[in-house]
Symmetry: C2
Subunit: 474 residues, 2 copies
């Protein structure tokens, strides 16, 4: 690193430390916006979050700050392209929408009223993913405020549909490649390795295929005494169909489901084994009596990241009130989703699942299957030049070398950017691995926020020392 860069970097880091209290207040303001993308009544709040970001971007000094209408929620783009044509251009991707906050009763404090306690911030979206957007905003602010410039050309691509499947973002990528043109995408929507400050680079993501199935029988609920035995119970049919989708070890029984699954290589298995995985700690985090043995022949770490899985996300139908209602319910429904791995094609999996459910639907009921959303799995080659740079930046900020992970989660745009724009992504994320992402009392350590900002400041500094060609401009 040149002395000039070093001096500028030190000034940017100093700016972060001097403005820390203000930053936390601003983050609380951002977290109060109820940007729940799945909830149609929150459409205005989701837009409000996009507008809040736009004002931040403009204030920091980004140009071409734009809100793009989509068939979903708005997409925000911006750019600062004055680092020089030979410098790398980096696209930053995050999402500003959040998961629904229910069950509300289980939150210690309301989900959109941030609580600072024991070095943590509790709020819906603080880890997934508004806190990470904020890290990027403040890292850019630090460079711009202290040096008047960024070391790299930076483009911004923030979406508001990630928690509902990123379909609008997927379309946007196909339609606006010019706004996303870059040498590398940096994605911050993942976590660190632990809460002891060990950073992580995620190099694999699972894809997803999400479904809703509804089994309908009679016009209306029927008396189970008068009809039980001669009318197929839709709830029974549903549980039979769902139970039949997996064997007792969780292995998915849908014909063709595993056909395209890329077998784990020895290198994959060695990388997975190298990451510390404390079974007892994992169990305690979740509170289950015992971990699930699951698919045979794979470790826990492999099963939650590198193998496909299927989970029922919700089920409902009939009477759930107090006491007894002796009915055959008119219908019962469930949401379920499969996590996919390379090289499973989510469109193909959707077809297989729908065909299978239609095939096994008994004639006494009507079975409707809806595809809710899908996303492709992704892998970043570990020898991509940006991976080493990101590792140095993380080590500089956190004082520890990062581990390399495959995540069990899904970020649909990563595969779409690869497919449509040819972009490689490096996933550098700062959430806590235990941070209740899709659960009540989501939280993030304040140390991750400040460490994350410093790591991104370092990352732009490190990447700015490279030429675009060195980074592998296509």
């Amino acid at each position: 690193m040149t002395t000039e860069t070093n001096t500028a970097l030190a000034a940017a880091l100093a700016h972060l430390r001097q403005n820390r209290d203000r930053h936390l207040r601003e983050l609380d303001e951002f977290l109060r916006i109820e940007s729940v993308s799945a909830d149609p009544t929150k459409t205005g709040e989701v837009r409000h979050a996009a507008q809040w970001i736009m004002l931040e971007l403009a204030t920091i000094g980004f140009e071409q700050v734009a809100l793009h209408e989509t068939r979903g929620h708005p997409i925000v783009t911006a750019a600062w392209l004055h680092a020089g044509p030979d410098r790398p251009t980096v696209l930053v991707y995050c999402h500003y929408d959040v998961q629904p906050p229910d069950p509300l009763a289980e939150w210690v404090r309301p989900p959109f009223d941030p609580r600072h306690e024991d070095g943590r911030i509790y709020a819906r979206g603080v880890g997934d993913d508004k806190g990470q957007i904020f890290i990027h905003l403040k890292a850019a602010e630090a460079w711009m405020a202290s040096a008047g410039r960024l070391p790299v050309n930076l483009r911004i691509f923030f979406e508001g549909d990630e928690e509902v499947g990123s379909e609008a973002a997927d379309e946007f990528i196909g339609e606006h490649p010019e706004l996303l043109a870059a040498d590398l995408c940096v994605v911050s929507d993942t976590g660190m390795q632990d809460d002891e400050g060990t950073p992580a680079i995620t190099y694999g993501l699972r894809g997803i295929a999400y479904f809703e199935v509804r089994v309908s029988g009679p016009f209306q609920d029927l008396h189970s005494g008068g009809y039980g035995g001669a009318i197929a119970n839709p709830a029974r049919v549903l549980v039979e169909m769902l139970a039949g989708l997996q064997d007792e070890h969780g292995r998915i029984t849908i014909p063709g489901f595993y056909d395209k699954v890329r077998p784990l290589t020895d290198a994959d298995r060695a990388a997975s084994a190298a990451v510390p995985f404390d079974e007892e700690e994992f169990r305690e985090q979740t509170g289950v009596p015992q971990l699930w043995s699951g698919e045979e022949g794979y470790t826990y770490a492999e099963r939650i990241s590198a193998r496909p899985t299927l989970d029922i996300n919700g089920i409902w139908g009939g009477y759930s009130g107090e006491g007894a209602k002796t009915i055959i319910p008119a219908w019962a429904a469930a949401k379920f989703s499969a996590r996919l791995v390379p090289d499973q094609d989510f469109h193909e999996i959707e077809r297989l699942v729908v065909d299978h459910l239609r095939r096994i639907a008994p004639p006494e009921v009507k079975v409707d299957v809806r595809i809710i959303h899908g996303g492709a799995p992704a892998l970043t080659p570990l020898d991509h030049p940006a991976v080493a740079v990101a590792a140095r930046a993380l080590e500089a900020a956190f004082g520890k070398a990062p581990v390399f992970l495959r995540s069990g989660g899904s970020i649909p745009v990563v595969a779409a950017l690869r497919a449509h724009v040819g972009l490689s992504s490096v996933l550098v994320g700062f959430a806590s691995p235990n941070g209740n992402f899709h659960a009540p009392n989501e939280w993030m350590p304040i140390a991750n926020l400040s460490g994350g900002m410093e790591a991104v400041v370092h990352l732009w500094g490190e990447l700015g020392e490279m030429t675009a060609d060195q980074l592998g401009r296509r």
Copy 2:
């Protein structure tokens, strides 16, 4: 029948006809009381219904009108015992509580706002069972108003917990045999054979065992990407457990479940075959694409009345809102119930079910099973002398001989009266077999109400011609 009885009977029938419009207005008033026994917020309304009945009984001329506190809702008793000691004493049993009205949105008009249309009354409880209580009140009123007396000694036993399992009534029967002492119980909580005025005597009832099972896993909902594959999904475990309770034909797989089931005799099968059963009409009533073949070796009519069945009554857990929430739900739960036949013991079945669920519960989750309520099955011998009398009374009122049915439903006190007080019951009911008992838009033909009142007037007349000994006083 003596001339004197004939004259009095004619006067009572004339009273019914003269007061028909007033009766329908009074029934509407009774139906407006929201006596939903399962709903803790309706406790006051249930009591209000009991008090409404007490005022009616006292006005008609019943004595010893009493409200009995129980651990459930109140029980109402009353008596008129001046027919003479050699005349039969009859106990009338009905229930004044009703099923929960949800789903409310599916009612054409609110469930407690009676609608008269096309010769029917639509309202929650009109068939099950407030309309039938009303039939008994007005039949007694007709005798008392026209003749100043009843032909038999009559006792009243109306409860408010039938729709939640009649446990309080069961206890009451054991504790107050003196208030229930009689030669015969007449129960009106069943239906007619069709809506063409064919009456029915129900001689068999199924018992019931009702359960709630909850499968709990993690402390809270987990991200299905981060944990899917290593944490057992409680909803998956639940659907597997539930699906495993029956084979594809609905035959229950719980060990020991069928041990005590009394095989159908040739006479049972012949009686069942003698009752018209139109498969296509049954299918159209319910709106299902196809009837369920169900348990092999039995007809539809046998399966809905004389064979044990199991139905899931409700299931819930996880996310059921719009779009997608990618979670492993913290828990999932279901209500399910088995209909029992002679000689299954519901206490034994409860034990078998609970033991079985505990045995098959996998160690990765916690499984809680609650027994919600139970009731014994019952059969009335077809050669009981009261059966022939009731048949004559029904034919006199409806102009058609009744059919003899085994009902698939459950009326727990029938077995309890037999066990604790030694009483035989004759089930003479007037609801429509298609009357949406436990569903939205419950209805009853107005002709059944007037026919029912006339039939009961005839029944007391006929029974009053007998001595208690002829009826088989024990």
